[in-house]
Symmetry: C2
Subunit: 222 residues, 2 copies
Amino acid sequence: MSDFKVIEIKKNVLEDNEREADALRGELKERGTFLLNLMSSPGSGKTTTLLRTIEALREEMKIGVMEADIDSDVDAEAVAEAGVKAVQIHTGGMCHLDADMTRQGIESLGTEDVELAVLENVGNLVCPAEFDTGAVKNAMILSVPEGDDKPLKYPLMFSVCDVLLINKIDVLPYFDFDIEACSARAKNLNPDIRIIPICARTGEGMEAWYEWLRSQVKQWNE
Amino acid sequence: MSDFKVIEIKKNVLEDNEREADALRGELKERGTFLLNLMSSPGSGKTTTLLRTIEALREEMKIGVMEADIDSDVDAEAVAEAGVKAVQIHTGGMCHLDADMTRQGIESLGTEDVELAVLENVGNLVCPAEFDTGAVKNAMILSVPEGDDKPLKYPLMFSVCDVLLINKIDVLPYFDFDIEACSARAKNLNPDIRIIPICARTGEGMEAWYEWLRSQVKQWNE
């Protein structure tokens, strides 16, 4: 009766998730589908960036989108109107997606005719950083109004991302945001992170982002 | 051997937390300390709003601040420099504070000479909304660059807050943000929510916020 077992819930959860994420990535490789996990704070411009990206790339590659949201359908509607396949994932209050939820989204979306699948994660800089979704690459958006100190405050998010889009650079004159300082802070956490300043609304800087995405999708299918 | 028990972890966690939050509120009432829980997305201006509020009210009432952050100490340093008692709470990766963590913060801060205690929660619109911290009132900041659709996407946060500060109104000309539409969406979720447009940087609208805070602290001590 004195025998007992300590259950490390969080550690187990994360390890299980990592296994599931690796399995999903393996299947996506076989199917020739590149999955991008797009993360940011609420209101950083994930949906606007995505809509503009769809507009620019939909003639070149088949795109599918999974919109994760606590509750609403507004983003999935906007994406469907842009003329690509879209599914809405309601997380039911959950603050992030894990690999299992992403798999459900992928199955519902279907991959037969999808070369680039984008997961728009829940707007949150904390929890989504902890859970590997099974995506091939992670992208994050930080918008100018949020401040250049964010890498100091949400280090894990900046550490797990392959590319950082600094959005809303059109309003740089009205905010105290130092792109150099922000980039140095991000690179200090993650020396390999690619940093691209953009304005999704006006289109400024977006060509560099499309180029990055094109080369990633191509590489994945080689 | 066929007898088994279903453990509803999340429900139990939330119920336990509610009990702890009520107990903490009871103790704060006895000690004459008003606790405000301040929430927002990353970069909405919690710290700037707080610093300006401290500057305006510190001659009138004794203020203490708890800064919750995943990892850094930058906000607590700024608050301590403003000349009030401050403690930093490192959540160790957690995306919100619960009543027990808040109690630890309160004990470390000490309440003997604190009439207004402010908890600056983790920058996140999802998880902090689910956990009652034991605060007397909840305040949230939504900044103009985040967009007026946020009540649709993070309904619980808008539902649990007593006051909504719409911050960064100085940049309204550069963003597509409709204060009326945003207010209607927030009131639809929470008819009693008080909405105050402000610019913490310039001070615009802040007097109405101070007045709300003054009356709340006074009421709590009656």
